[in-house]
Symmetry: C2
Subunit: 104 residues, 2 copies
């Protein structure tokens, strides 16, 4: 098992997913965001080249962050870097879906 | 960053999510499933106690698996333990959504 307990996985659908300039800006912002100290592990992604009926590959970027516990996640939510990310990038996305999971 | 490249995150909505007997059976099957050798890292979860508009906490179980690369993921897809999991458990779920992501 991943050592940490709290999984926070975010999927972003950009308004203009084919605009390279926008994508470059968003990637840079994601890379800055994941420097928040309470993040134990992270993965920034784009849809993989898989294709079955149950797979949703319509999103533009994914942000997987793993926290030791919910308290560390809560610090991240209120962290200035997170608030700045939302302020600078919220206008770029059309839709966001978040899945938060704690260990069985 | 997580060391491995390929993220495979699955969300299950069980038909009978309040049935403890079914949930116990499903949990046991998940724990057996994640013993497939090509899985580099894994996390079995249930929805966390977070609640904002963008969060989907309606699923019953989550299965996060991390693979070194797509080839290791493809081996997992065809692995007898995976096929057995689907055969034994598909009748228990109403809906499955998969997100596959590769590193930026």
């Amino acid at each position: 098992m991943l050592e940490s307990n709290f999984i926070h996985h975010v999927f972003f659908w950009l308004k203009d997913p084919d605009n390279q300039e926008v994508k470059t800006k968003f990637e840079k912002a994601l890379k800055e965001l994941v420097t928040v100290e309470t993040i134990a592990e992270k993965h920034l992604g784009t849809p993989a080249a898989t294709n079955r009926g149950v797979i949703d590959s319509s999103y533009t970027f994914s942000l997987l962050t793993v926290f030791k516990n919910k308290a560390d996640h809560d610090i991240y939510q209120e962290h200035p870097k997170h608030l700045k990310f939302i302020e600078n990038c919220a206008e770029l996305w059309d839709r966001v879906v978040v899945y938060d999971s704690e260990s069985l």
